[in-house]
């Protein structure tokens, strides 16, 4: 798991949300949204994060941006621990990491023009001078394929794909080196998806951006990512380079996900494993391996003890003892 140019490292990241009930709003339990997550993101590389809805992918994204306070674990950005920095101390790191959202309709302020939205970032990094800012806004919009003349339009005048581009321009405005892409194409038409994905790839090549690419679409993740982490109920189940993960999935959950992906020619990427049942609630997760309730290989040991990571080879980690 070690390479020299690691940009962001997360170790043992945990986030539990309290569940409150009753008149006095007492805490009756915890939702373990993220329950010990480790990963690295390398410079100008993409880490894909896949999993079903509710598995904690988006929470991970928000944790590393410090939009949510982690309960445990460490976030190390360029060998600086930013886990416990206050909002003020974070200011220099704000412009290093940005986020792109899933819903293109909610991600732009409906009362601000496209230009103003992008300008917010320039203001935030303290760019003085109206002229300068306006000029930079035009540049940024053109960079994402929006004509600069559209800077004075309001979000409702753009299509979903165009809004997503404006969201990308806003993220780029502070010249970040890492962007968390929180399901950036899930809400778009397939044809638009391709455009946005290509745009993200081109920007990565040109600006040397690192991505944390969160998605539930394995095809998209496979195309975008250099490394893939498969998440289930707050745990990373398998962590491997993209090709290796797609060619030799080890964890039964990864295997099941791959068999569920429809392929253009009718044959799924993998065959033979069908998932049954629903994801158990994170409020009351089963003991032992998080996946045991739905796992076809589950045995007594899986139900009793938590399963650690097994290192298959230098870059391939899997949280299952049955397949080692």
């Amino acid at each position: 798991m070690t390479t020299n140019n690691i940009m962001l490292r997360s170790t043992g990241l945990k986030k539990y949300f309290p569940v409150r009930r009753g008149f006095l709003q007492r805490v009756v339990g915890w939702i373990k949204a993220v329950d010990g997550v480790d990963f690295d993101i390398e410079q100008a590389k993409t880490l894909g994060l896949v999993g079903e809805s509710g598995c904690g992918k988006s929470t991970v994204g928000r944790l590393i941006l410090k939009l949510l306070e982690p309960d445990e674990g460490k976030i190390i950005y360029k060998s600086k621990d930013i886990t416990h920095l206050s909002q003020n101390e974070l200011t220099p790191f704000r412009k290093e990491m940005q986020i792109i959202f899933q819903d293109p309709f909610g991600s732009l302020n409906p009362r601000m023009t496209a230009g103003q939205s992008v300008e917010e970032g320039l203001r935030a990094v303290g760019m003085k001078g109206r002229r300068e800012r306006k000029e930079r806004v035009r540049e940024l919009l053109q960079m994402v394929g929006i004509p600069a003349s559209a800077a004075d339009r309001f979000p409702h005048e753009f299509s979903g794909g165009q809004r997503q581009r404006i969201g990308i321009a806003r993220a780029l405005s502070v010249e970040p080196s890492l962007i968390v892409c929180d399901e950036p194409v899930s809400a778009l038409d397939v044809s638009i998806q391709a455009q946005i994905i290509n745009l993200l790839k081109e920007l990565q090549a040109r600006l040397g951006l690192g991505y944390l690419f969160i998605s539930h679409d394995l095809n998209v993740v496979g195309y975008m990512s250099d490394m893939v982490a498969v998440m289930y109920l707050g745990h990373i189940m398998e962590y491997a380079p993209t090709d290796e993960l797609f060619d030799h999935p080890l964890h039964p959950y990864t295997f099941a996900l791959l068999s569920a992906v429809p392929a253009a020619n009718g044959t799924p990427l993998k065959q033979g494993l069908e998932l049954r049942g629903e994801v158990p609630s994170a409020f009351n997760p089963p003991p032992g391996c998080k996946f045991q309730a739905r796992c076809p290989l589950a045995e007594d040991r899986c139900r009793r003890t938590e399963i650690p990571f097994y290192e298959i080879n230098q870059n391939h980690l899997v949280r299952c003892w049955k397949v080692v």
């Binding site: 928000r62 941006l65 939009l67 974070l90 200011t91 704000r94 412009k95 990491m97 940005q98 986020i99 959202f101 899933q102 819903d103 909610g106 991600s107 732009l108 302020n109 409906p110 009362r111 601000m112 939205s117 917010e120 970032g121 203001r123 935030a124 990094v125 540049e139 053109q142 960079m143 394929g145 929006i146 004509p147 003349s149 559209a150 339009r153 309001f154 409702h156 005048e157 753009f158 299509s159 794909g161 165009q162 969201g167 806003r170 993220a171 405005s173 502070v174 455009q195 745009l199 081109e202 040109r206 600006l207």
Partner: protein, 386 residues
Amino acid sequence: MNTDKKEFAAFPEEEALVPSRSRAQEFFRLLNKNRLAFAGLAIFILFFLTAVAGLVLTSGTKPVLDPALVRLPEKLRPPLSRPNLQVLRPEQIPRLGIYLLGTDDLGRDVFARMLQGAWVSLTVGFVAVGISVVVGIFMGGIAGYFGQEQIRADRILVLILLFLGIGLAFLAHPSLGILLFALGICLWILCGRAKLRLEGSPWARFLFAETISVDTLIMRLVDIMLCFPSFFLILTVVALLPASIYNIMIVIGLTSWMGTTRFVRAEFLSLREQDFVTAAKALGVSKWRIIFRHMIPNAMAPVLVSATIGIATAILTEAGLSFLGFGVPPPHATWGNILSDGKRFIFDAPWLTFEPGLAILIVVLSFNLFGEGLRDILNPKLRERY
């Protein structure tokens, strides 16, 4: 960074953008569709102009139309009647040459009095609602944005002292009030200083215990305020305070902010979870800029609607107070006290009750219609999506 658009092929060109239509154009297009709201707006503008004209024409030492000029021989003349020039001194002859809306029991020109009253109604409506909207946005904004923060016990003590102090200072004992206020501030400073020193001691456990959240405090206060029958609360306060139009505006304003608070809180609670607010946080935009630039503009639509309807309510409340004799002191005319004076002559001079009554009805109705229309217009679901 070099910007060469050619590099990104197959991206939307200028034609792909829909024709631009500004917010104002959109607003008027929808207003045009909603005829009743449009009528409401038109009547409101008319009322506004009338009130301004009324202020200009009836104030000053030598007003064009004098609402206080008594002509005893000409009392209770019906609308549109001509003055009897034989009994009037030259300065008593009405400028219009006609009693447009008749005269009252002292022979005063009702038209002039109605004009004077229009300005009162307008200012009471706007100032009272202005106060209630400002208080409402402030309280609702705090409850919505900082609602989850817990208040320490010592802060609550300070708050109670400050409130008691202000209340006493204005109502009964100025000196005692100021003393309590000063005590509150002293306690605040002392507790701030002592916090570090007392850390861990059993005293601190109680003094600095976290009690309730800001949200709970403000929303329970709203609930309490809503429990009072507000008209009687106003009557009580007006009875205690010296009668003046400004006191009435302030009192009406301070007893009608609860609705706005609830609206703003609800809007803030939903807005703070929106992606564009998260994006602003991620960019490092300051807390206050997020509140004022990103959240308040998006929370204004329901506030605007409730404010329009609130103006109508405030006008009605003022008229009611004047009718009961608690309003603006005479001889200043308001629609309420014209109505109240006229009720003794309702069979001999029905115009004295009908004219102010109709004026109130029309203005309140127009505001309500406009408010209802505004609610539809500002509803994003009705707006065309591209």
